[in-house]
């Protein structure tokens, strides 16, 4: 249904071509094509009609596009279409009169009306044009209405599948297999070394697995819930990295009940370890902060490390965070990542602090 400019012109020529033939046929059926002079004048008039029709409707189309009529509300669209069609009819009627007068193409009936009153013939012409143009407008309007509806339908479908795909991907990225198997390996070693720690590590791992499986069921969770997961996660990573991983929290008590997207802050912490701490031979510090700034909730994760240029714009993780924020909050949420000071990388989420 999406038709380009080529089809527009084809339709124009076809439509007005039919109009032209209809005119000739009409004249022939009332025996007005008997003498050569008559034939010439009728053909010229019919061609004039068709050309004027094409020209005027094309102007009408330009005006419609220029005014952006098709983007307006449906009721306004209909009124504008009527108004523009009427206006164009008067212009066409007037143009027709002067052109035919110039070329001497009047037929007798018109001569008679003209002699009565100029206004009358202009009005007569305009009404005739209006009846043609209104058909043109209707076709144009319906065509665009239908194709817009179809496009909207396709867009919704696309968006839906995109969201699904994104959900799947985010879930996948949240359960980082490398982390799970390393944690399990650590736990196996702990079973002999420190059975108590091994037991709690299994609980921590189950908590993380459970929340990453449940992620699609809730749009937001309280920050305190998210922090619980992060604490479990970091406890497991500390079991692996031992004194190479230091953790510090700076949580504003006002923020703990604020809603946040699930597993998003966790993902930042995970990346802080994956791209930061795990590359440092001597390890480093991960700092998690939350604060309220006016009407926004600021969550940040800082880690020891260096920001590689390709990480700035976005690997998959960063892109999926940005897309999730866009879907959930539109333009009211932001994400940034930067080298806050030498040897330190900071990621920051800014969310609306509603409720």
């Amino acid at each position: 249904m999406i038709i380009g400019k080529k089809h527009y012109w084809l339709l124009q020529v076809f439509g007005w071509g039919c109009f032209f033939l209809w005119h000739i046929f009409g004249a022939w059926s009332v025996d007005r094509m008997n003498s050569p002079e008559e034939r010439l004048i009728i053909t010229q008039r019919a061609a004039g009609f068709a050309l004027l029709g094409i020209a005027m409707t094309h102007v009408l189309r330009i005006v419609i596009l220029k005014l952006g009529v098709l983007a307006k509300k449906i009721a306004i669209q209909i009124w504008l279409f009527l108004l523009l069609t009427l206006l164009m009819s008067f212009i066409a009627g007037t143009a027709e009169f002067f052109i035919y007068k110039q070329l001497g193409l009047f037929i007798k009936a018109e001569e008679r009306i003209f002699h009565k009153s100029l206004l009358l013939i202009l009005l007569n012409n305009a009404l005739a044009w209006f009846s043609y143009f209104i058909i043109w407008s209707a076709v144009y309007f319906i065509y665009h209405y239908v194709s817009a509806a179809q496009k909207a339908q396709i867009d919704t479908l696309k968006l839906k599948s995109h969201i699904k795909e994104l959900e799947l991907k985010t879930i996948k990225t949240h359960i980082n297999p490398h982390f799970i198997f390393n944690a399990l390996n650590g736990i196996r070693a702990m079973v002999d070394e420190n059975p108590q720690r091994a037991r709690s590590a299994i609980t921590e791992l189950s908590n993380i697995l459970r929340s990453s499986i449940n992620i699609d069921k809730s749009e937001t969770v309280a920050l305190s819930d998210e922090l619980d997961i992060i604490k479990d996660y970091l406890a497991l990573e500390q079991m692996r990295f031992e004194d190479r991983l230091q953790v510090a929290y700076e949580i504003d008590p006002q923020t703990i009940n604020k809603p946040v997207p699930p597993m998003m802050l966790q993902m930042l912490v995970e990346n802080a370890i994956k791209h930061g701490i795990s590359h440092e031979v001597n390890g480093g510090l991960v700092e998690i902060k939350s604060a309220i700034e006016g009407k926004t909730l600021e969550l940040s994760v800082e880690n020891t490390g260096c920001l590689k240029p390709q990480q700035k714009g976005g690997g998959f993780g960063i892109r999926s965070i940005r897309e999730r924020l866009q879907l959930m909050y539109g333009d009211h949420a932001h994400f940034e990542i930067n080298q806050s000071e030498p040897g330190k990388v900071r990621t920051k989420l800014t969310l609306p602090a509603s409720i």
């Binding site: 650590g186 196996r188 002999d192 079991m239």
Partner: protein, 242 residues
């Protein structure tokens, strides 16, 4: 087999050490927690075998291997890294997924002890001073791809600036070594400096023809044609006449 365990996590090293204690053939000499430490220990202890974690801080296991002068047998250990393993041309590779299954470990060790022995080094000899023979294996990393290469599979070394291009089978990766440094380390019985830019493997020579200037042109099994300079031609004739 004298073994070193290389992993950045103490728990992982402990666990593997404990598992290896059940194998009489394995003697764990030492452990290393990062690549630099590992390179040092491999040079000084010259183990027969290393267990190597691929992801480590600083340098990855692959980067570490490509810096080694002497490459022992390697069993890779990794938690999950399909990319790193895919990058690897599987010829001498054995790898274990953590947590390691005892049966898989046993199979890997069995496979090693029945395989053709890599040239064993006399312990205590200074690293770097000894020659690489045709049975020595080297580890080559070029971009994302890695290979274990037996030197007798190498047809040709070609100098490219500070690098050398290694021709073997269908591949020609670059290594960061000068041709002169390579010449010093290669066994002169097997490898021959043909000219300023090339070292050839004498066992890979297919055809020899006379060439301009009293030189020679040899064709290798891979189809490469290498000119032997006039000066080297005399030496070459000497070598081949024996």
């Amino acid at each position: 087999m004298r073994t070193i365990i290389i992993d950045d996590e103490r728990l992982a090293r402990n666990e593997l050490n404990k598992m290896l204690s059940h194998f009489e053939s394995i003697q764990v000499l030492d452990e290393a927690s990062n690549s630099n430490e590992a390179i040092e220990k491999i040079h000084s202890l010259q183990p027969d075998l290393i267990f190597l974690d691929i992801q480590m801080p600083g340098k990855s296991g692959f980067d570490m291997l490509s810096e080694l002068e002497y490459v022992p047998k390697v069993i890779f250990t990794t938690a999950y890294d399909e990319y790193a393993l895919k990058a690897f041309e599987v010829n001498a590779l054995d790898y274990l997924l953590k947590p390691i299954e005892p049966q898989r470990l046993e199979a890997a060790i069995k496979k090693l002890s029945t395989s053709i022995p890599v040239d064993s080094k006399v312990p205590g000899e200074l690293p770097g001073s000894d020659l690489l023979t045709e049975n020595s294996q080297v580890f080559v990393k070029d971009g994302d791809r890695c290979w274990f290469i037996k030197l007798n599979e190498v047809r040709l070394f070609e100098s490219v600036g500070n690098y050398a291009k290694v021709f073997f089978n269908g591949h020609k990766p670059l290594i960061l070594k000068s041709l002169n440094a390579l010449e010093e380390r290669l066994d002169p019985k097997a490898f021959f400096r043909a000219n300023r830019k090339h070292i050839i493997n004498l066992q890979m020579v297919e055809k020899i023809e006379p060439y301009f200037n009293n030189g020679l042109l040899v064709e290798l099994k891979g189809g490469e044609k290498i000119e032997i300079s006039r000066r080297q031609t005399v030496k070459f004739k000497e070598r081949m006449s024996f």
